[in-house]
């Protein structure tokens, strides 16, 4: 049962072999001798590796002996031909058997004295039992290597499979087969940053959406990893290629080869295409040799659509490190030649800490791989929204910096969270033929119903008033939440628009419009008739802090009529809202969207707005205008009033052909408003957020100089 121990030791030796061969340091002569020794043993080992005649190989002889008698042809006539046939058969095992390079070297290594180790090194016991071997009924067959298992052997990458695929058309297409670009033709992601810009001129969304290349887009343009064949050209400099003009994207870039490191899955599935890439000849600045290590940009690649497999980008990272560490070892080997008491850090390590490197490099890589796998997700914007935004901000910053600065461009490795395609599992429970009924199995993918939960609605009669109020409030809260989800979706449409195919865009726009309508309906309540008789629903929403913020965010998306409607409702009920907002003081957040809305309103609407706000003319003659007072005494109310007045003034002064009717109405209103303003003591006036500059000119039309001065002091 010491096999695993030996195997592990051998593997450890294998990795340490070049370094461990120089055990000591000392004066030069000793070193030379040491050099001689390991070289000799190395030579011995090498000779043992190459066995000229099969008949000398003990392993083969053993194998042959076990099989020999059964394979003897004829038996009676032994001739040279027989022996050659035997030889051929003996050669069989060598040829047919794919002996991993590890095992050959194992034979060649001399037995090392086992290093004193207290702890158990048991990789096989550390591994979880393979899922594929355990009896699994009711779960889909596991095709991938279970995550709990570290690789038993050194993973020999066999990147012989090249799958060229048809040119991908677009990113979010249905599950089409797309493959990443081959190595030489890859573009830097920075080049690709400009792609969305060019291809999306004249899209309906405001240009506030930054043309940041999504991970997906980058994914198609940079191909899958073949860990063994990394070329510096595939890594682009973070810095170097910002702003380089890219007219179009070359389809060839999107063809790729995908290496298979893991046991093959059932086939490649969904990938995302990209807008066509520029021809490879337009590739700019082949990055410098040393830069590839640092300049790993977020370039998620096309690759296996399974989240259990490591993204090629990450895999490449891993192997890079491996190679780096190996080359470090090798360089250390060579350095022992030059003298001067030069100690390698590794030697020191070996001397002071004989327990070092108990954790093998590949075990470290394995942990690292798991960590990288955890970064993969099917929708990074959903799973990891804040990091994505933060990352984009960082990139924009560094891009901006590079544009300004002329110095050597800093290259930083950045952590990427690649996007994986969703793997569609169509799971059907196991069925046996010829049996009646199905197996009763319950697994994580196919749970059994345990509880029969029945929803019983409460009767309306025995509810107290309090409960009703509470329920109503709860319903409002639910409405707010639903509308918020719609809002987030609508806000996300810009991004999706950039990513989508041309054909899909109308559908997207339609969806978006529909959602906006739904939002508005939610806000105002589904009116039974044409007219919206009650603002009740809207008021309920506005009483809640989140509701107010929701309205502020929705307003930019609404049509002018709808937005005006909202404004009116707010103005009409402003005192009530002010009272309710006393604690939260969230109303001012509405000012900005309201002011935007105001820009688009005609004079008629503005007039009626002022009417609503000031409650003039008063329906019933009252000594005081409570409505207006309340409005004036509140920061938001006063600011809104000023905004509306200023807009009215703008319209009046700019548009010379205003209708007479409206003019009269406006004038009357202004007269009354100014009268009220004059009446109110200054102390009672709230402090507005901003005082528009044209108010004075507004008032100057309607009042004489004396009163104007008075007003001026009040403002």
């Amino acid at each position: 049962d010491d096999d695993w121990q030996e195997a592990h030791e051998r593997l450890a030796e294998l990795e340490d072999k070049p370094v461990a061969s120089r055990e000591q340091d000392g004066p030069s002569t000793e070193d030379l001798d040491l050099l001689g020794d390991p070289e000799d043993t190395l030579a011995e080992r090498l000779t043992r590796l190459v066995i000229d005649s099969e008949l000398e190989d003990p392993a083969i002889m053993q194998a042959v002996q076990t099989r020999g008698p059964t394979q003897q042809p004829g038996g009676l006539n032994s001739s040279i031909w027989d022996s050659s046939a035997v030889l051929r058969r003996m050669r069989g095992p060598l040829l047919t058997q794919e002996m991993p390079s590890v095992s050959v070297l194992d034979y060649a290594l001399p037995q090392r004295p086992p290093q004193p180790r207290d702890d158990e090194r048991d990789p096989s016991e550390r591994a979880l039992p393979r899922r594929s071997s355990s009896p699994v009924i009711g779960s889909p067959p596991v095709r991938a290597v279970p995550i709990g298992t570290p690789p038993k052997q050194a993973a020999v990458p066999s990147f012989n499979q090249q799958i060229l695929c048809p040119k991908p058309v677009h990113i979010r297409a249905t599950l089409q087969q797309r493959y990443p670009a081959p190595y030489g033709e890859r573009m830097s992601p920075n080049q690709l940053c400009n792609v969305p810009n060019s291809s999306l001129l004249g899209h309906p969304f405001p240009h506030s959406v930054s043309p940041v290349l999504t991970h997906l887009q980058r994914a198609q343009l940079l191909g899958g990893a073949q860990a063994g064949r990394m070329s510096p050209s595939q890594f682009a400099r973070v810095s170097g290629l910002v702003g380089s003009p890219i007219p179009s994207v070359n389809p060839k870039l999107l063809q790729g080869r995908v290496g298979q490191m893991m046991p093959p899955a059932s086939g490649f599935r969904a990938f995302f295409g990209a807008p066509p890439a520029p021809p490879p000849s337009q590739l700019q600045h082949p990055p410098g040799p040393g830069s590839h290590l640092q300049s790993l940009r977020p370039q998620p690649q096309m690759f296996r659509p399974d989240t259990t497999h490591l993204h090629p980008q990450h895999r490449r990272l891993l192997h890079q490190r491996q190679q780096q560490s190996r080359s470090q070892h090798r360089s250390l080997n060579g350095s022992i030649g030059d003298r001067g008491g030069h100690r390698s850090s590794h030697q020191e390590q070996m001397r002071k800490d004989p327990y070092a490197n108990l954790m093998l490099q590949r075990e470290k890589d394995w942990v690292s791989k798991i960590q990288m796998m955890q970064l993969q997700s099917t929708d990074p914007y959903l799973d990891d929204y804040y990091y994505q935004n933060y990352f984009q901000k960082l990139e924009k910053l560094s891009a901006a910096e590079e544009v300004h600065g002329d110095g050597p461009k800093k290259e930083r490795t950045k952590l990427i969270t690649p996007q994986v395609a969703k793997l569609e599992h169509t799971y059907k429970p196991v069925q046996f033929e010829g049996s009646l009924g199905k197996l009763t199995v319950s697994s994580v993918n196919n749970p059994r119903k345990m509880i029969d939960a029945v929803v019983t609605s409460r009767s309306e009669d025995d509810e107290t008033k309090e409960k009703q109020v509470r329920d109503k409030r709860r319903q409002t809260l639910v409405t707010i939440e639903k509308t918020y989800s719609l809002l987030l979706d609508v806000e996300d449409y810009e991004r999706r628009y950039l990513l989508s195919l041309e054909g899909e865009r109308p559908a997207l726009m339609g969806e978006r419009k529909q959602k906006i309508c739904d939002m508005y309906d939610n806000l105002r309540g589904k009116a039974p008739g044409q007219d919206r008789p009650s603002d009740d629903h809207f008021m309920q929403i506005m009483c809640i802090r989140k509701g107010k913020r929701l309205v502020a965010r929705i307003l930019p998306f609404l049509s002018p009529e709808q937005a005006a409607d909202v404004l009116m409702a707010t103005a009409r009920n402003l005192p009530f809202l002010i009272k309710k907002d006393a604690q939260d003081e969230v109303l001012p957040c509405l000012l900005r969207p309201f002011s935007h809305v105001l820009y688009h309103l005609p004079l008629g609407t503005v007039t009626s707005l002022v009417q609503q706000l000031t409650n003039l003319p008063q329906s019933a003659p009252a000594p005081t205008n409570l409505h207006l007072t309340a409005v004036l005494q509140n920061k938001f109310g006063l600011s809104l009033l000023y905004l509306v007045l200023s807009r009215g003034e703008e319209l009046q002064s700019s548009d010379t052909n205003t209708e007479l009717m409206q003019d009269n109405q406006w004038t009357e209103l202004m007269l009354m408003a100014t009268r009220e303003l004059l009446r109110i003591p200054q102390a009672a006036l709230a402090k507005p957020v901003s005082t528009p500059s044209n108010l004075l000119s507004l008032f100057s039309r309607y009042v004489d100089q004396q009163k104007l001065n008075l007003l001026e002091t009040k403002l």
Binding site: Y355, V367, M372, R412
Partner: protein, 133 residues
């Protein structure tokens, strides 16, 4: 050589001396030999260090395998600065005695507190399920 920039990983910490604080309040010091994806740790030549006031005592424990969820925090010990501490090392017996005394004092003050609260009609439930530290 950072595998994943901007992230925290224990891989860089392997074979270095660490101080590990566990959820039950113990402090372990040892060489981190191996980790896994759950941050389970294998500590080598581990020493449990008990701190009481300005004194501390070390109990050699050998090899520890710590389940990741029980670790509060861990950090690398700078070997050069390790001896540069104002704390005074004492023998194991002494530190255990000190610890016992401290525990007793704490229990008594806790009892007094509970008593006082009880007299005033208040009751603070003891969160037994939370970590002791």
């Amino acid at each position: 050589m950072n595998y994943m920039p901007g992230t925290a990983s224990l891989i860089q910490d392997i074979d270095k001396k660490h101080l590990v604080l566990l959820r039950d309040g113990r402090t372990l010091i040892g060489y981190l030999r191996s980790i896994d994806q759950f941050a389970n740790l294998v500590l080598h030549q581990t020493v449990e260090r008990i701190h009481v006031g300005k004194k501390y005592g070390d109990i050699p424990r050998g090899i520890f395998v710590v389940r990741g969820e029980n670790v509060v925090l861990l950090g690398e010990i700078d070997l050069e600065k390790e001896s540069d501490t104002p704390l005074q090392q004492v023998s194991i017996e002494e530190i255990l005695e000190e610890q016992r005394v401290e525990q007793q004092a704490k229990q008594e003050s806790e009892k007094l507190k509970v008593q006082a609260l009880k007299e005033r009609g208040l009751c603070i439930p003891r969160a037994d399920t939370l970590d002791e530290y």
